[in-house]
Symmetry: C2
Subunit: 316 residues, 2 copies
C-alpha cells in the first residue's frame, strides 16, 4: 500500500492541523465539513497556520503550494472518494463516531485505512460491528499535530496488523512521532500523563503552597527546558554513572514515597527497573552517558538563548 | 544589603553549579569542602561546566575570568569569613544540616544570609533554636542551577521578611527565577510536581500500556515543546477565546475525572478557576491571546529547528 491521497472529516482545529501535516508532506488532502461556516473559514485558517509554521515546510515549498494541495468538500462521499487514508476529526461524542464510521463503512474505498483522531474512545466502542473494522485505528495527536509530532496509535484487537504497521510508516513519513498504545483503554496515555501533572499543579494551588504563576515557572523555567530534549526517563538515566538502573536502586524510594502518598503501590520495582535498564542501554551505552550529559547541557543553553531572543508575547 | 561575596559549603554537583551561577554574575565565591578529593577535582569540574555553558556568560567574559573568581577552602571558617551570602550544599541528611548550621551560627558574618539548598528539610527542622535562625532560608533549585533557572525559596515562619526579599532580589540579579513556597512543607513543590508526572509514567509502564521509549517521546516530542516556553496553566489559557476560565468551565471536568480516579476531590472548583483567571488576566488581556498563540507556535517551530540542528547524542 502507498498512501497518496488523504481525506479528512471535520474542519475544526484538529482537522485543519492534520490537513497541514499531510499537505506539507506532498499529499493531496480532501477535507469535508458539514458546516458551511467551517468550510468558509478553513482556507484562511490553514493559510495562517502554514505561514506561522513555514519554517517546517520542505525546502523550496511555499504556503501557496502547500495549501493548493487541499480541497474542501460539502459531502463526505466527495471527500473520501479515491482516498487511501481517511482521518475522522469530528466532534468528540460517541454517537457521532458511531454514525460517521457507519457512513465510512459504505463510502470509503475498500482498502482505505480509517483513522480516528478521538482523544477518548477506543475503536471497539464505535466500529466493532462494521465490515471495515479491521481497517480502523486510533491516530490521536498532541494538539496541534502540525507543531507537536507525538501521535498515539491504538489499534483494536481486530485491527489488521498490516494496517497498524502502515499507519506507523505513514506517520513517520509525514514527520510525526507515532507511539504505540498496546491495548484499548479510554483516553489512552498522552492525556493521562498530562492530567497527572496538571492535577498535581491544581493540588499545590488549592493547598495554597505556591502561586499559579510560580507553578507555571517551575515548568517553563525549569523542567520544560530539559523535557524539550529528553523524556523524563532519559533524563534520569543521566543522573548516575550506572545509568537509570543504578539511580533507581539508590533513589527509587523517593518515587515510591510519592506513589504511596498518592495511594498507589510502589512503582519502582525490580521489574520496572529491568524494563527501564533494557530501554536505556539499548538506546545508549553507559560509556557514552557523559557525552550525552554535555549534549543535554549544550542543548539547554541553546534553548535559553532562543528563549531570550524570542522574548514573551506579553512582555509589554 | 548588597551581596558581593558568596560562600558555598559543599563542592558536589549542586555546590559547583551554584558557584558557577554566582561567579558568572561577577561575585567572588569561596567554596569549602571537607573532602580532599572533592577540592582537588573541583577546578576542572567547574571549568568544564562553564565551558559547556559559555553562551550564558556575560558579554566579553571568558571561562578563565569566571573561574578566577572562585577560591577553594579547607575550612568552613575560611570560606565564610567576609561572605554576605552563605549557601549550604552538603549531603542531604538532617543530622548534617543540624551540625553545619550550628557551625554557621558561630562562624558566619553576623548579617550574612544563610541559605540551604536542601531538597527535603524546611529550615524549622534544623535551625529553629539558633540565634541566626531569622537569617536562614531554603534556596532549592532545579538541577543543575547554572542551566535551569527556577529556584524554590522557602522561608521559615521566623525568617526575617527583609532576608526573604533580599534573597529574591539576589536570585533575580543572578539570572535565576525564584518562586515562593508559602509555608514550610517537606520536599517543597518542585520535586513533588516532577514526581507526580514520573509516578504516572511508571504506572503506564507497569500496566504495560506503552513502552518506556514511547512514554519518553510523549514528553520530548510532545508536551516538552510547549512547556519549554509556557507553563501548563499558561498553555490552557490559550485553548479558549475566553481564556483559562472559559476553558475550565467547559472542560475542567476532565481534570476532575482524573483527580477523582487518583482518589482526590475535584481540583477544578470555582475558587481555583477564580485564582487562575486572576493570574492569567493580570498577565495578558483576552484580546492579546491570539497574538500569544502565534508567538507560542513560532516558538515551537524555532525549537523544532533547533532540535533538528542539534540532533541527538545517541544518533549513532
Amino acid at each position: 500500500m502507498s498512501i497518496e491521497t488523504v481525506a479528512i472529516a471535520g474542519a475544526g482545529i484538529i482537522g485543519a492541523s492534520w490537513a497541514i501535516v499531510y499537505a506539507r508532506s506532498g499529499l493531496r488532502v480532501a477535507i469535508f465539513d458539514h458546516n458551511a461556516e467551517g468550510r468558509a473559514t478553513l482556507p484562511q485558517r490553514i493559510a495562517d497556520a502554514v505561514a506561522v509554521s513555514d519554517a517546517l515546510l520542505r525546502p523550496g515549498e511555499t504556503v501557496a503550494v502547500v495549501t493548493g494541495r487541499i480541497t474542501i468538500h460539502e459531502t463526505l462521499a466527495d471527500a473520501v472518494a479515491g482516498a487511501d487514508f481517511v482521518h475522522e476529526c469530528i466532534v468528540e461524542k460517541i454517537e457521532s463516531k458511531v454514525a460517521i464510521f457507519a457512513e465510512l463503512d459504505q463510502l470509503a474505498e475498500p482498502q482505505a485505512i480509517l483513522a480516528t483522531t478521538t482523544s477518548s474512545f477506543p475503536v471497539s466502542k464505535f466500529a466493532a460491528d462494521l465490515a471495515c473494522r479491521d481497517r480502523c485505528i486510533v491516530v490521536h495527536p498532541a494538539t496541534p499535530p502540525h507543531l507537536l509530532p507525538v501521535t498515539e496509535i491504538c489499534p483494536a484487537p481486530f485491527t489488521r496488523a498490516d494496517v497498524t504497521d502502515e499507519t506507523f510508516r505513514f506517520m513517520e513519513a509525514c514527520g510525526q512521532t507515532p507511539v504505540r498504545i498496546k491495548r484499548e483503554i479510554p483516553s489512552f496515555v498522552l492525556n493521562r500523563m498530562q492530567a497527572a501533572l496538571v492535577v498535581e499543579m491544581f493540588r499545590c494551588l488549592n493547598e495554597d503552597l505556591i502561586s499559579a504563576e510560580d507553578i507555571d515557572k517551575i515548568i517553563s523555567q525549569g523542567f520544560g527546558l530539559r523535557w524539550a530534549f529528553l523524556g523524563p526517563f532519559e533524563g534520569v538515566d543521566l543522573n548516575a554513572k550506572g545509568g537509570i538502573a543504578q539511580y533507581l536502586e539508590n533513589f527509587g524510594f523517593l518515587f515510591n514515597e510519592m506513589a504511596n502518598e498518592l495511594g498507589f503501590d510502589d512503582v519502582v520495582t525490580p521489574r520496572s527497573i529491568a524494563a527501564l535498564d533494557d530501554y536505556a542501554r539499548r538506546k545508549i551505552p553507559l560509556d557514552a552517558l557523559q557525552d550525552k550529559v554535555a549534549w543535554r547541557d549544550r542543548s539547554i543553553v541553546a534553548l535559553r538563548r532562543l528563549k531570550d531572543e524570542r522574548g514573551t508575547a506579553d512582555r509589554g
